[in-house]
Amino acid sequence: MTLGSDPRGRRVAVVADSLLEGLLDRLDEEGYGVIQLPPAGLDDETTALWLEQVAEHVAEFRRNGYEVVLADGGVHAAALERALAGLGVGDLPPLDDRR
């Protein structure tokens, strides 16, 4: 198999748990796969571990030219930004507000 040999959208949305249910149908229609951000109620260590692995996924997708956007609502934006910066990845553009 080679690049482009399947129907993947090469578009990824990093999405706050609180926004996920409301955005799923739209994201699927627009060809975005989802990376879920940590839900509320986790302890700080678990939240940090979750964000760390999200950043690792994002870095790999960005390295390979995938479009990656953020729909966060502000909860994890700063911590995710730090985790991404640690991997040499800049800020993610927001999922635009088309409805």
């Binding site: 399947d6 959208g9 879920q36 390979n64």
Partner: protein, 179 residues
């Protein structure tokens, strides 16, 4: 009682599949929709293969992935998953795990095997076989939960890459593990 479904990363993000492995542009809706219909909260697992082997990794079988370092990587992720899963299991919530039965990492009941695969990436015809067994992340999650005195939750694997894939059989099997 909460209903929580822990599902393989690629079911919500087909971009995580190996090249050639995505079935749709974005998500695998049959399972996502069924879980939503039944009122499950979705919890997406990490994809150990994307973070370790990368987005351009070659297809692989269990014998290739089953290294001490890959297991350590999976255990690190399993600790995260177990930490999220543990409170639900202790509370008696309805917890299910949905894996991928064609994956060396996320297999629940089956995992791909080809002991002779190695070297130059041109195996030609895919002669790997699906053998009974769990994927490596699932095994590490089971071990991590066991250390916490907890069992793996109810579980099944998606079989959309099986040659005889039957969506009706899969829906029945999924329904059998859902509340």
């Amino acid at each position: 009682m909460a209903k929580v479904a822990f599902l393989a990363h690629c079911l919500l993000n087909q971009n995580a599949k190996v090249e050639g492995g995505a079935k749709t542009p974005a998500m695998w809706r049959p399972v996502v929709d069924l879980l939503r219909e039944r009122g499950y909260t979705l919890r997406q697992l990490p994809c150990p293969e994307v973070a370790f082997g990368g987005a351009r990794r070659f297809w692989g079988v269990r014998e290739q992935f089953d290294t001490p370092l890959y297991r350590r990587h999976c255990r690190r992720l399993a600790k995260l998953v177990a930490a999220v899963m543990e409170p639900h299991l202790r509370a008696g919530d309805d917890v299910v795990l949905i894996g991928i039965d064609s994956s060396p990492t996320m297999g629940i009941s089956f995992t791909p095997s080809a002991p002779h695969w190695a070297g130059k990436p041109d195996v030609g015809e895919d002669d790997s076989v699906l053998v009974p067994g769990e994927g490596i992340l699932v095994e590490e999650l089971e071990a991590e939960l066991a250390e916490r005195g907890l069992p793996l939750p109810k579980r099944t694997g998606i079989r959309h890459w099986f040659a005889d894939y039957d969506p009706d059989e899969e829906r029945r099997r999924l329904e059998s593990v859902l509340a």
